[in-house]
Symmetry: C2
Subunit: 243 residues, 2 copies
Amino acid sequence: MTAVLDSPFAAALNRRDDLSDEDRRLLEMLTGTVRLYGPQEEIIAEDSTAAESCLLLEGFAVRVHLLPDGGRQITEINVAGDFVDLHGMLLSKLDHSVVALTRCRVAFYGHADLKAMLAVSPHLTRLFWLMTAIDAAIQRAWIVSMGRRTSEGRLAHFFCEVLCRLEAVGLASGSSFSFPVRQADLADMVGLSVVHVNRTLQRLRQMGLIVWDGATLTIPDPDGLRAAADFDPTYLDLVKRPR
Amino acid sequence: MTAVLDSPFAAALNRRDDLSDEDRRLLEMLTGTVRLYGPQEEIIAEDSTAAESCLLLEGFAVRVHLLPDGGRQITEINVAGDFVDLHGMLLSKLDHSVVALTRCRVAFYGHADLKAMLAVSPHLTRLFWLMTAIDAAIQRAWIVSMGRRTSEGRLAHFFCEVLCRLEAVGLASGSSFSFPVRQADLADMVGLSVVHVNRTLQRLRQMGLIVWDGATLTIPDPDGLRAAADFDPTYLDLVKRPR
DNA sequence: CGCTCGTTTGAAGCTTATCAAAGTCAGTGG
DNA sequence: CCACTGACTTTGATAAGCTTCAAACGAGCG
């Protein structure tokens, strides 16, 4: 009923390595609970020590860090197929909250169940670990963007990343995908003010690099955008090989 | 001879969870090679697909990302006890290089050996995985700094982080530690220009928050610096408990 | 001593933030 | 059908923060 194997997460794993019959059997036995969330709804509270981790089945969610002055920084965006807080199984306490950016469908799995499953499968363990390592690589790419890229570069790189991650789980149609997100949220992802994001988006539109009405994002010329963004998808490790 | 068990890495593990006799036995059997590096020397090349991962025994090293315009962004600093590129065991290709910031002593371990060791110990696996999860948490903290903190805040937070990480492996004497690093390197870590870092450092000195001659960094008033930095060490997960 | 590397200082200019207001659009109720 | 509302985008003006270029300064070294 919760069907990890049918989820885009299984697609993400399978994109990087073949799953053995034993792997599939173990994943099939894992059962969880599905919940729904609306935009801006909190999925996981900061400082939580929950006994379960959640897998995003549909929608976009973000990791949010609040600052004392009321500021907000988003440290990662999660797309369908992301095991959002898998690291919550290892860490004592989460240093951030997770918030739904759009309507989200989310499956929860108990840490005890996950640990039991992984304890008998070094291979699945490496694959799950790999997914958290890719998350870290994504975060490094964000650091590079925030530290050394122009506002255009940051947004362009971000859009390339999202497109690429959606393609990896088969959720982009052509170079276009559903992206019903506020500019204020974008601003908190790239570390700029809303006003500046607005102006930068206008420039990207003018250059013909993106088409976005606030609901669907289309990238007319992916190569052009990649060039403008200095985007190299290597860090997403989209290579199928034994691990 | 390479003695993982005597390294600050073992201290880092032990800081988070007790090591069983079996854990210790396994770690003891792991053998590697030690190499030395001077400042600015490359420890791991970008795009490398090395068959070994390295553990920093002494010194500071950084992950570096080069940009087409000649820019440079550092995405993480490693202190003694960090298993610098443990994630290299999982990823196909590293998206960054690792460079010695100071004189460094480094131990290398084969991926095959590491995998073999971890395959028989779910507990050690979780601990190694945990260390990469903490790395990711550190990166998130950097994203927050770069996105939403002032130049003072960024540097102050950075110094708090380094102090805290060194304390965690018992390498800070009081609130002071050896830190022979160039301002240009600092600039590439916090995403500012050298000139601006210079002026910001002067302000931090003026405020009595740091004392730094380029070789040894002293923090006269750790609480004051933490307050200025909005620093909360929770993300470093310095809690000892069964994992 | 002269050279190199790194820090410090100065000035000009660009990028980005902030504050404030106007414009757009979907939904709601009269 | 039209005013009204609330959420979001767009525009404008101004100020602050940061970068860049250029030069001076200081310490370590052959």
